[in-house]
């Protein structure tokens, strides 16, 4: 049976109606009780594997050996709505979608149209329309509107603070370590040494503050294999910290290794499994606060529709966003779907980027975290008015 795009959008319950410019909500000066997590998948996740339009008659032809089987077949897609299905390695997400706690934004990326990982990630994180358009991240600029004094509302999990979380507002940090902790009086003396060097002094102060905030919460996590950057460890730490009363509320985590130019099947299978386990761990450790949570999973761009000559895919454009959590009105695809046939592809090769990640981020900032639209447009995502917010994505409490 051939499903028209109109039918598809209906069956998927897709909200293509964009929110009209509603008067902004009250500007939140106090830290929110809502939780928001962004997971950045670096390298360009293959969106058409993660969520495959398996029922599209062009799908098997265009994707050949990369395509998933039909639901029920060996290695078949996990059906979502009769048209799209999840890669079987994302098994945790299937019941979540059915329970209405997972929404999917397909064929999406930022406004960036080049195919450089590094420029693409930079735009994704800095929030302006240009690579290196500013040296702070949009998530940190959002914190400016939510931070109350010394409170650390932001949380960066991993060794480096991603650009998205860098900026004026101090954030809590956490990374696994197997090294013995340095004694407090040594750190105090070292702090005196650092007094003449603002960069070192600031970083050490932040580290000591973060260590104090994490004490008793993340003890023992990642001790066994501290060099592992697996999402499971990061999700456990982040989940426990976010679940704390008076803990951080807004977190970012990064995951590398999604650039699958050759032998994609095996590489991607392992990455998707890692993501699946990580997301599941997140829900587990968030506990009751899952209800207040929106987790967004994004990648700088998607990949080519067709396989390349080496059982992989090259850099593309339209990618994917997963939006999950107890505060998500899930069980739906949001945004538009361009189709994958040749005539619908971007520059004759990529999934067309008909949706804008900024629409998604802005929706979460406005509807979930209560930030004023004006502030979002001016300070967080400048020059993004064309990226309109989605309606009906966030559950009203």
């Amino acid at each position: 049976m051939l499903i028209s795009r109109r039918d598809l959008l209906k069956t998927a319950g897709s909200a293509t109606v964009l929110a009209s410019a509603s008067p902004g909500l009250v500007f939140a000066a106090a830290p929110t009780n809502k939780r928001f997590v962004t997971i950045i998948l670096r390298g360009g996740m293959d969106a058409l594997t993660a969520v495959a339009p398996y029922a599209d008659p062009n799908y098997a032809r265009l994707r050949s050996f990369l395509s998933l089987g039909k639901p029920g077949e060996k290695n078949g897609a996990l059906d979502l709505n009769g048209h799209f299905g999840l890669d079987p390695n994302l098994s945790y997400l299937e019941p979540l979608y059915k329970k209405g706690e997972l929404a999917i934004l397909h064929a999406a990326t930022t406004n960036y149209r080049g195919r450089s990982h590094f420029d693409g990630q930079n735009v994704l994180e800095n929030g302006t329309p240009k690579p290196y358009g500013t040296d702070s991240g949009w998530l940190n600029r959002s914190l400016e509107l939510m931070t109350d004094g010394e409170r650390r509302v932001g949380l960066s999990v991993g060794h480096a603070v991603p650009l998205m979380m860098r900026g004026k507002t101090d954030v809590q940090t956490w990374a696994p370590s197997a090294l013995p902790k340095a004694e407090g009086d040594f750190l105090d003396r070292l702090m005196r040494v650092y007094e003449g060097d603002p960069v070192f002094e600031h970083a050490l102060k932040q580290a000591m503050k973060s260590a104090a905030l994490s004490a008793g919460v993340t003890d023992g996590i990642g001790k066994v294999n501290a060099r592992s950057t697996s999402l499971k460890i990061m999700a456990e730490a982040a989940g426990k910290l976010l679940a704390k009363t008076n803990g951080p509320r807004i977190a970012v985590i990064e995951s590398g290794g999604w650039d699958t130019h050759a032998g994609q099947h095996l590489l991607l299978r392992n990455k998707l499994k890692e993501l699946n386990i990580g997301l599941e761990a997140f829900q587990q450790h968030l506990g009751d606060t899952w209800r207040e949570t929106v987790i967004v999973v994004v990648s700088e761009f998607g990949r080519t529709v067709a396989a390349n000559g080496t059982r992989g895919t090259d850099h593309g454009t339209g990618g994917l966003g997963f939006i999950l959590g107890g505060a998500v009105k899930g069980g739906q695809f949001i945004g538009k779907w361009p189709g994958i046939a040749e005539q619908h592809q971007f520059q004759g090769r990529d999934l067309a980027p008909v949706n804008d990640y900024r629409s998604l981020f802005k929706t979460v900032l406005h509807e979930h975290l209560g930030l004023a639209e004006g502030k979002i447009e001016d300070a967080i995502f400048p020059d993004s008015r064309s990226a309109r917010m989605f309606s009906g994505l966030i559950r009203r409490a």
């Binding site: 480096a160 940090t173 013995p180 590398g256 130019h261």
Partner: protein, 469 residues
Amino acid sequence: MVSKDAFIAANRFGLGPLPLELDVIAKNPRGWLKRQITAEQKTPSLLQNLPNVAEIMSTYTRNRQMGNRGQNRGQGNRGGGNRQRGGNTFRQQQGQDYIDSVYSRTLNMIQTPAPFAEHMVKFWSNHFTVSNASRKIVGPIAVAYETDTIRPHIFGNFEDMLIAVAQHPTMLIYLDNHISMGPKSQMATNPRGGDGRARARGLNENLAREILELHTLGVNGGYTQTDVREFAKIITGWSFGGRGGGPEGPNGFRFKRWFHEPGPKTLLGQTYDSGTVNDGLDALKMLARHPSTAKFVATKLVRHFVADEPPASAIKKIEGVFTESTGNLAKVSEALIDLEEAWQSPFDKTKTPYELVLSTYRALDTGKPDKKYLMQTLGELQQTPFKASSPAGWPDVAKEWLNPETLMRRIEWMRALAAKLPRSVKPEELFADTIEAVASKQTKFWVKAAPSAEEAIALILASPEFQRR
């Protein structure tokens, strides 16, 4: 007398001073650096006994054939069993070989009397990154790659280094070019032609894109997606080993003309139509001489040797020397040493974790670090050589490295290391041998006021002066 200039020469351009070395450098800091610029670069003795690329490749090919046969031909359990047995020992051996090779490479950088030359090896090796983070390249091959392609050319010609890199099996594997084939090539149109093995057929743009974006022109260097495709076609057939109907080159390189896309290709307005390996070589030469390349490379060098925000005046000078000398890296290196901008402040750059570890062991004079401990340290500090997360290599600005968590890991490591040192390491001597010439008042005060020798040592190592260059 030890001067600020000696500190800069030893740390910014070198890899940190050996004990008492600052006094030697102080006599003529620029001269000390320039004396290390010699066209002939011998392979250091610590690296001479490592397996070379031919040995590594033959083991790799043998094990891969053994391992993959079952999978590719669908022979089921018999082949699978083989893979298990052959594969596991092979993997363990490869892992050990990798550790041994990285240890030798690091030990050489700790002990070298020519740290500016080694610093250049490290710089170019990062510019032309190969990484086993995704386990695509295995075993000691990354170090062999560096020895074959980077070391001989650090003070030679950029063009020669670029060609050596682009033809080396390690880079061809890392960025997938060895399996890329022209859609109209003999192999692609006749899957059982050539070596008789069926496989996926077509282009892979990975290496072509990264040569343009990361090795030569830079992302804003003026190329299009079409240029990426055309360049990928030009270098189809750039592979190694096996049969394939083409001449062999250095380090096992082979141009497999059965993989090569026939017909003319146009890169940056220039057409290449010989259908031989020369098309790719000519294209690389053109890229090496392109003005965008001069600018891109100059910017990276100045960022590395002057400041995170590279001053335009310095970039311009280096760009000029690079262009006029057609990429003569001896001249470019001399010009870097001659940059006034490089000698103004001793603290503009922050050491990467690897630089911190190298300079710590160079300063301590406690013999060889334990292999396992050294590798664990590099892992904890997030910079094990040849494990960068992308072909862009390790970042080169402080804000990527001086985060709260990464700084705390450095401090924890240095504190723990200081507790383990033999009593022969004296804080006063270490202080004089490293940061005294540039130390701030409070650093001097608190090092002196430390309650124990080991804490004094830890404070020296963890000081901003020691962590900057």
